[in-house]
Amino acid sequence: MELPQKLAILADAAKYDASCASSGAERKNSLGSPGSKAVGSTGGAGICHSYTPDGRCVSLLKVLLTNQCIYDCHYCINRRSSNVRRARFKPQEVVTLTLDFYKRNLIEGLFLSSGIVRSANHTMEMVIEVARSLRVDHHFRGYIHLKTIPEASPELIEEAGRYADRISINIELPSEEGLAKLAPEKNLARTQNAMGHIRKRMDEHSEEKRDAAMRKKARPAPFATGQSTQMIIGADNSTDHTILKRSCSLYSDYKLRRVYYSGFSPIPEPASVLPIKPPPLVREHRLYQADWLLRYYGFGVDEITDAQAPNLDLDLDPKLSWALRHRGQFPVDINRAPREMLLRVPGLGVRNTERILSARRFTRLRLADLTRLRLAMKKIMPFIETADHNPTLLGLDDDSLRARFLPPPKQMELDFVSPPPTRADRIASTTGEI
C-alpha cells in the first residue's frame, strides 16, 4: 500500500481521540547543537496549526501505527468486528512523516496510538520504537504524546515516559459495568492502577529534578510531565454526575492534566450493541464547562449535579444554572465580595476576577468600569451590586429570570446537530471561561 493511502486510513482511525494538546511540556529547543540535525522546541502554550471544519484544533500528527486490533470495543471503528480497511505503518514511515510535517511548521509533534496486535507488550514495543527513533536517531525536540496500554509491562510504560512529553491511557467509560458491556477487554481497575504507576513515576521525576537543581547536579533523564485521559460520552447510560465524579477522582488521585470528554460519534461501521443516536454535541460542551468549574472555580461535583438532577442543564451553562438555583447567595458586591464568591458570578471569569480584585484596591467600581472590561453585562447584572447598581430593581427574585437566559426556541433540528455556538460559547470553549 502507498504511503498516502496508509496515512488516510490511519489518520481516519485516530480522529476519535479528542486530545490534541501540545502544552505543558518541559522547555527544550534545537539551539546549542550547531551542525547537528536537532529540530524542535516545546514548553510554550501549545499551538493549533490548523482547524478542521469540525472545529477541532490540529496540533499534532495524530495517527495510529496500525488499525488492526484484537480488542472489540464496540464504540470504536477499529474493533475486530468492524470491516474497516486495515493498514500498518512501518515505524520509519511515521518518523519521516513527523519530521517532514514538523519542518514545514505544520505540527507541534506526534500523537501516536495503535490498535492492539498480538499483545499489549508487543504493541507497546512498536509504539516506543517510533518515539525512540525520533528522539535518539533524529534528535527530535518537538512534542510527543504516546498512548499507553494499561496491561503493558511497567518497564515498557517507563520507557515510553522517557521519550514522551505526555502519556495517556483512555479510561473510556466512567464505570466498570459500562466497560464490561462495551469494551470487554478493558477494565477500570487495571487502567487506574497503571495511571497510579505513571503518577508515581512523574512525582519521583519532579523530585529528582528539584533535588538536582538544589545540589547543582546534572538534570535527571527526562520523563513525561503530564498524563491525560478520555471518556466517551453517551455510549452507555452513565449520568453526568457519574462522569464528573469519576473526573474528580482522576484529577485528585492521579493528578491528570486533562480529562477529555468525547461525545460518542456515529462511525461508518456501527455496532449492534450501541445506541444509534449520538448524544447532542452540547452535552460534551457542558461537561467541559463543568470540568472547568471543578478545577478553577472552586465548585464541588455535588453542587453542580446531584442525585435529584444527575444531568447538566443543556440549555444553560452550569455556573448560571447553579446561580439560578441559589439566588439567596446573590447579589454579590463587586467591591467587597471575596474572590471565591466573585468566581461564582455567572459571566465572570478567572482573569476578570483578578482585574476586579486589583482595581478595587484603588477605586470603587461602577457599572461603567465593568463595561470597560467587556463583561457580558446582561448576564452579570442580575447577580451583582456595584457603587451605582443594585439588581433588586431588576427583579432578581422573579421566576422569569431563568426564562431570560434560555436560548430562543429553535427550529426543528436533527438531534446530532448542536446549536450554533454563540460568541460567549466560543470564548468559553477556547479559554474555558464561564
Binding site: 468486528s81 514545514r104 499483545s119 462511525i267 486589583s358 484603588f362
Partner: protein
C-alpha cells in the same frame, strides 16, 4: 506644541519618551507626528537626552513593548500619556484595568499577542533546497501579519528550527536565519515566495482524514482560523469540499447496517484478559450483594 517624528520602533519610542519626560513635557504639549507627515518634521532635532534615570514599573515596559508593535498610529501618544501619569500622580495605574487608557493599551497588547500566536501557527515553510554536502535544508515562508510583529515573533522559529536555513517574508519586513544570525530586511511582495511544497498534497490527505464529518462545527473553525488566513494555508483549499460532503457522509453512517460481533480469535493474551475481567466482575457483584 512640541512635535516629534514617529518612532521607528519601541526602543526609539523609549528614548524619545524618556527625554520628553525628563524635560517635563506634559502629554498635551507633545504632538506625535503620523508616519505620512514624517518628512515635514524631518529636520526636527531630538530632545536632549535625560540625565537622571527613571524607575518605571517593569509591567509597564513589558506592556509598552508589545503595544508598540500594534499598527494603530495613536499608540505612541497614548503610551507616553500612560508613562506620564505613572511617573507623576498615579504610580498604581498598572493595577487599574478599568482605566480607559490602560484598557486601550491592554487591548493592543492582546491583539499583538494573538497576532504573534497566529504567526507561529500559520507560517508555512516551503522547502527550497538542500545543501549537497551537509544536508542542511532551506525553507521559505510567506506571511501577512496584522501588526509589526516580525521581530517579536521570529525568535520562536530560531529556537525551533536552528539547524535549517529559513526566511519568513512579509509585506512589511523579512527575516532570514542562516544558523548564526537573524537578519532583518525590507518587506517584499508575495511573488518572491514559493507557492507550493512537495508535501502539500500529503498534508491535505492528513487534514481530510482527521476531520470528522459527523461533528460539523464550521463557525467554530471560522472563529479560530478566520478566512483571511486561508489563502496561505495549503489545506484550506479543500474546506468547501469537506463541508459540502459531510452531510451525505453522516447520513450514510446513520443508514449503514450494524455489524454483528465477531467471535474472539484464539489468542492466549486475549483469553487471559477475558478471564481476569470475569473475575473482577464477579468480585464486584459479590461486593454489591453483601
Amino acid at each position: 506644541m512640541h512635535t516629534v517624528s514617529p518612532p521607528a520602533d519601541f526602543a526609539d519610542w523609549r528614548n524619545t519618551a524618556r527625554a520628553l519626560l525628563a524635560a517635563g513635557r506634559h502629554p498635551d504639549e507633545v504632538l506625535w507626528a503620523q508616519p505620512q507627515e514624517a518628512e515635514l518634521f524631518g529636520g526636527e532635532s531630538k530632545p536632549p537626552k535625560p540625565n537622571k534615570s527613571l524607575t518605571i514599573p517593569k509591567a509597564f515596559i513589558e506592556m509598552a513593548r508589545s503595544a508598540a508593535a500594534h499598527r494603530d498610529p495613536r499608540r505612541w501618544a497614548l503610551l507616553y500619556e500612560l508613562l506620564w501619569r505613572i511617573s507623576h500622580k498615579e504610580p498604581h495605574l498598572m493595577a487599574l484595568s478599568t482605566d480607559p487608557q490602560l484598557r486601550q493599551a491592554q487591548r493592543w497588547v492582546k491583539a499583538v499577542g494573538r497576532d504573534i500566536h497566529k504567526m507561529h501557527a500559520f507560517v508555512r515553510f516551503r522547502k527550497v533546497g538542500e545543501d549537497e554536502l551537509t544536508g542542511r535544508e532551506s525553507f521559505v515562508a510567506w506571511y501577512e501579519p496584522d501588526h509589526f510583529i516580525l521581530p517579536l515573533g521570529a525568535p520562536f522559529f530560531r529556537e525551533r528550527f536552528s539547524n535549517m536555513n529559513w526566511s519568513i517574508l512579509t509585506p512589511d519586513a523579512c527575516v532570514h536565519w542562516n544558523g548564526m544570525v537573524m537578519e532583518f530586511t525590507a518587506g517584499v511582495d508575495r511573488s518572491k515566495a514559493p507557492d507550493e511544497d512537495s508535501l502539500d498534497e500529503l498534508w491535505r490527505t492528513y487534514y481530510r482524514n482527521i476531520f470528522n464529518p459527523a461533528r460539523l462545527k464550521v463557525k467554530m473553525m471560522h472563529s479560530q482560523m478566520p478566512k483571511k488566513f486561508w489563502k496561505n494555508l495549503p489545506e484550506a483549499a479543500i474546506i468547501p469540499e469537506l463541508v459540502s460532503r459531510s452531510k451525505g457522509q453522516l447520513q450514510a453512517m446513520l443508514n449503514s447496517e450494524e455489524r454483528p460481533v465477531k467471535p474472539a480469535p484464539k489468542n492466549a493474551y486475549l483469553q487471559s484478559l477475558h478471564h481476569m475481567n470475569r473475575k473482577a466482575l464477579e468480585a464486584l457483584d459479590k461486593q454489591e450483594g453483601s
